[in-house]
């Protein structure tokens, strides 16, 4: 069973060596700046001079572009079209399709909005491609995130593929018994129950034993937790983080000052 736990792909790149928190800060900064900055072309510029080059620096450009074309571009185009057509802004109508007016203003509006979303999704994708979940969690735990949260996140990431394959086999079994994913609405709702039942109950039973198991491994111990791996945090990391925070605050300040 193909276990896609996360986007992460192991490569030897500058981005991979960066501390996870640094990468997270980078992602959040890109998102915040593209949303906050009042200059129209901000998200477009960020995409071209930051996001795309970073995908090369991180040596994940191929998976990145694959995801971009497969997931991001269609969604963004949908958003763009919907907003261009249905946001009745402005008067300079460029062309009409049936009863829908497309104005220059709504095109511009849609273009920027869609691009903001693109930057957001791309930044996170890049982050996920270059950061292993257990590294991220280790680092955040070291910085004060309660260990239980790290536990929940990693545990969820491992349980989901298991449950998905359970669901696949239940769906396959039901299909062989006549479950139809194309039939009437009522039938489809009815078929939800025999799918949900076995899946959910089987998984819930494990919850108790797993709680005993982790309790037996000191999960609720009051000692200060230590960690097996040390995630490096270099001076470069710190410098980058501070620069990014500064840029975000500057954008915000600029925005407030200009309005």
């Amino acid at each position: 069973m193909h276990e896609r736990l996360s986007f992460y792909i192991k490569r030897n790149s500058f981005l991979h060596q960066l501390n996870p928190l640094t990468k997270l800060t980078l992602t959040m900064s890109l998102v915040l700046i593209s949303f906050v900055n009042s200059w129209y072309w901000t998200p477009h510029l960020l995409l071209l001079i930051m996001v795309i080059p970073l995908s090369y620096i991180g040596r994940v450009n191929e998976p990145f572009f694959r995801t971009f074309l497969r997931l991001i571009l269609p969604a963004a185009s949908f958003l763009f079209l919907m907003q261009a057509f249905f946001q009745p802004i402005g008067d300079s109508v460029i062309f009409k399709i049936w009863f829908l007016d497309i104005t220059r203003e709504s095109l511009m509006f849609a273009f920027r909005n869609a691009m903001r979303i693109v930057v957001m999704v791309c930044s996170f994708t890049l982050f996920l491609l270059t950061t292993h979940p257990s590294e991220l969690m280790s680092d955040l735990t070291r910085r004060g995130l309660p260990g239980q949260f790290a536990y929940v996140i990693i545990s969820t990431l491992q349980i989901i593929p298991q449950m998905q394959s359970k669901a696949q086999s239940i769906i396959a079994a039901q299909r062989s018994r006549g479950l139809d994913t194309e039939s009437s609405l009522l039938r489809r709702i009815g078929s939800l129950v025999p799918l949900v039942g076995p899946l959910v109950f089987g998984s819930l039973v494990e919850v108790e034993e797993r709680a005993i198991a982790i309790e037996a491994r000191g999960f609720t111990s009051t000692h200060i937790k230590t960690s097996l791996h040390e995630i490096p945090d270099s001076n470069l990391d710190r410098v980058i983080r501070w620069i990014l925070i500064f840029l975000v605050i500057a954008s915000l300040a600029l925005r407030i000052w200009l309005s």
């Binding site: 946001q87 009745p88 349980i159 989901i160 939800l192 899946l199 819930l204 797993r210 709680a211």
Partner: protein, 255 residues
């Protein structure tokens, strides 16, 4: 300030409210009461349930999301704060492995879990019709919180099918904010009431001994007996209130 910016500010305020609420709940020890070791092992399963059922629903092409069943489950069985945190974590994880478009919606998930938990604390999860009311209240909250996010982050049109409703409303001259608000209020109740009912049905199928292990088993003590009259009354009430609500919203916001 354009309406987009205004709603981005609302989004920021929502995040602030969440942070303040969490700090308050932590310092007053309310938050910790929702958590024992079982909560921590339940949450991953609940999130997985959110994800898997949410995806099954897409395969079956049903007109609902049903991606918060686990969140509601934890909110009822463990407490509002556990539910809220489950929602947020579910949202983050969904964004990390399925669709990063999900990230901005974490306040919605937070409040779904929170409201479900508080309703359950108030005894609103003990029979079918009470559960429907809980679902309705959760829906109202979800609609209210998701509207500013939809407007501020996405300009009102999100990547989901409900945007067509918004688009239609916009074309008929409705303003952006009310259009999105109405859309959400139409879409959410059906989804969230079904979600609450499914969570309730799951709980009915678990043994009392098992449920007793969680922090708040008292929320799920079953009042025996399915009263069809009660359910019918509940459905009528829910629809009536919904219709009334929408009318009020439309009236108040049409300018």
């Amino acid at each position: 300030m354009s309406i987009i910016t205004q709603n981005l500010v609302y989004f920021g305020i929502a995040i602030l409210i969440i942070i303040i609420l969490l700090i308050w709940a932590y310092t007053t020890k309310r938050l910790q009461q929702d958590f024992n070791t079982l909560t921590w092992t339940l949450i991953p399963v609940a999130i997985a349930i959110n994800v898997v059922i949410g995806q099954i629903v897409v395969t079956l092409k049903l007109p609902v999301y049903l991606d918060s069943i686990g969140t509601v489950f934890v909110g009822v069985l463990c407490g509002p704060w556990a539910g809220a945190i489950t929602g947020m974590l579910a949202n983050i994880i969904w964004g990390s492995i399925i669709d990063p478009n999900a990230f901005p919606w974490f306040p919605v998930a937070f409040f779904i879990g929170l409201v479900a938990g508080f309703c359950a604390k108030g005894g609103l999860f003990k029979s079918w019709w009470k559960v429907m009311i809980t679902g309705f209240l959760v829906a109202l909250t979800a609609a209210a919180v998701s509207t500013p996010i939809a407007v501020g982050v996405y300009g009102g049109i999100t990547a989901s099918g409900s945007s067509f409703i918004t688009a239609y409303l916009l074309q008929t001259g409705q303003n952006l904010l009310p259009a999105v608000l109405i859309t959400n209020n139409l879409v959410e109740p059906f989804d969230k009431i079904s979600t609450a009912l499914l969570a309730f049905a799951i709980m009915q199928g678990l043994s009392t001994r098992f449920l007793a292990r969680f922090p708040r088993p008292q929320n799920v003590e079953v009042q025996k007996g399915v009263n069809w009259v009660q359910i019918a009354i509940a459905v009528v009430i829910v629809i009536a209130v919904l219709a009334f609500y929408i009318l009020v919203v439309v009236k108040l916001t049409s300018q």
